[in-house]
Amino acid sequence: MAAGMATPDAAPPHSDMIQFKQVSKRYPPGIDALSSVDFEIADGEFAVILGHSGAGKSTLLKLIAAIERPTGGVVLVNGQNVGALKRKAVPYLRRNLGLVFQDQKLLFDRSVFENAMLPLSIAGFPPREAAKRVRAALDKVGLLERERAMPIALSGGEQQRLAIARAVVNRPNLLIADEPTAHLDSETARDVAQIFRDFHQVGVGVVVATYDKTLFPEARRITLDHGRLS
């Protein structure tokens, strides 16, 4: 679709969506967030990254989205070496990922609709087609009636759902979420978790970092302990 992306037919048939090969990330002054991490996540797989606070879960997700670059090893996303991406190619990688951040990163001076619209404006979608997609995404997370509201008027769960709607509005093949239920009560957390399952059902690969082992019992588990797989 966009320049700099590997085309689907260029990837092998049983391709891995994500591959980590001996990946390390060291922050100055010598703190190892990740050490020699090796794993693959297959196309359309549902994986949870588990581990205590500070185990390196967020760092791992940031490496996938090229927010951080590995200090050792190779990170492949859809067959593309993310760590070696040119600066100019990074935006196009991110447009094919759905990112849900720990602190949501909503824009509080824009309405629910405009927040969900942002990735499409960035990608340069024609407004009418974009509006349709935004409404579809808001509908999926149950926020369609709130499209004119400002984010400040939303509850914590609603804000998280808006963040998810914004992540999927581009129809990415991979949805990445960092602690999406961290600040939610258990009932709301289960609702939000169900949304991720729904997207997985329709073929979207999902990678969720969480400290909560009970949230996705059915998912593939990748457990980190002090920056190493355990």
């Binding site: 935006p91 991110r94 951040f101 990163k105 824009l107 960035i122 340069g124 024609p126």
Partner: protein
């Protein structure tokens, strides 16, 4: 199409940011407007003076005076020589009797002249040179001075040259003002864009995370700078226009007192267009410098 949509969105966003802080925007526009009104007003005055100078100043002439005791025959001889001179377009004789009559007719001088024992005025010629460049006129004057019985040759171009020098000074002054205050405009834009980048930090960060290119992020700031400059230019234009309207009555009064046919003309269309375009361009430049400094390539 995509390209067009993105530019329209960026323009709308810039407009929204401009109107989101009306007081700040108004102050910036006033600062830019006043800064630009100075050179623009200077240009307007200069254009008017130029117009006035070209309208009322006669083409430069040379006055030639015979010696007082020169007989009429000598004067006629000089007149013939002048007619034959290829450098001279026209030469008009002013006989001493005519001068005396004219002076006697003028108020206050008549009595004085009546007391004088004899005509104090010499025969004279008023000469229109073919080439009125200062150097050529000077050369011609020197040549004419060698004619027999010629007492004095006077260049009437001195005041034209003085005016020319003054206008040159005025032009330089306006240019200096324009450069200085243009830099001021860049500085104003630089600062407002810096503040914009700071207040939009969250939006910039989120946009980057969602796959925005550098161009996408910079675009609304460019439009902001250009729009602000352009509107500032319009404010400057309005200020100059108002000042012209305000000055029109007193200037007209002075012109009447000096019996000059003159009305203060506002900035020409071309100058007005240039003013607004230049302001927009400088605003864009200020935005570019500010973005380079504060958006960085991180």
């Amino acid at each position: 199409m995509v390209w067009l949509h993105q530019h329209r969105d960026a323009l709308l966003l810039a407009l929204r940011r401009l109107t989101a802080t009306p007081v700040n925007t108004l102050l910036s526009l006033l600062a830019i407007g006043i800064a630009l009104a100075l050179p623009a007003g200077g240009q307007m005055l200069l254009a008017n003076v130029l117009h006035l100078a070209s309208g009322t100043a006669p083409s430069p002439q040379i006055s030639l005076f015979m010696s007082l005791d020169a007989p009429r025959a000598a004067t006629e001889e000089v007149g013939n020589r002048l007619k034959q001179n290829a450098e001279i377009k026209a030469a008009r004789l002013v006989p001493r009797e005519d001068t005396l009559a004219r002076m006697r007719a003028s108020e206050g001088l008549g009595d004085v002249i009546d007391i004088l024992p004899k005509n104090p005025f010499p025969d004279a010629f008023v000469i229109d040179p073919k080439d009125d460049a200062p150097a050529a006129m000077e050369a011609l004057a020197k040549e004419l001075k060698k004619l027999p019985r010629v007492e004095h040759v006077q260049l009437d171009s001195a005041w034209v040259r003085r005016l020319d020098a003054l206008l040159k000074l005025g032009r330089t002054g306006v240019a200096m003002l324009a450069v200085l205050l243009g830099v001021g405009l860049i500085a104003i834009t630089f600062n407002t864009i810096r503040l914009q980048v700071l207040t939009q930090r969250a939006e910039i960060e989120v946009s980057r995370l969602l796959g925005a290119t550098d161009a996408y992020i910079r675009r609304p700031f460019y439009y902001f700078g250009i729009l602000q400059g352009m509107l500032g230019g319009v404010v400057a234009w309005a200020i100059v226009r108002l000042a012209a309207a305000w000055l029109a009555a007193p200037v007209g009064e002075i012109a009447q007192l000096y019996s000059i046919d003159f009305a203060l003309a506002p900035l020409s269309q071309w100058d007005s267009l240039l003013l607004v375009a230049l302001a927009a361009g400088l605003g864009g430049l200020g935005a570019m410098l500010s973005l380079r400094q504060y958006l960085g390539d991180a």
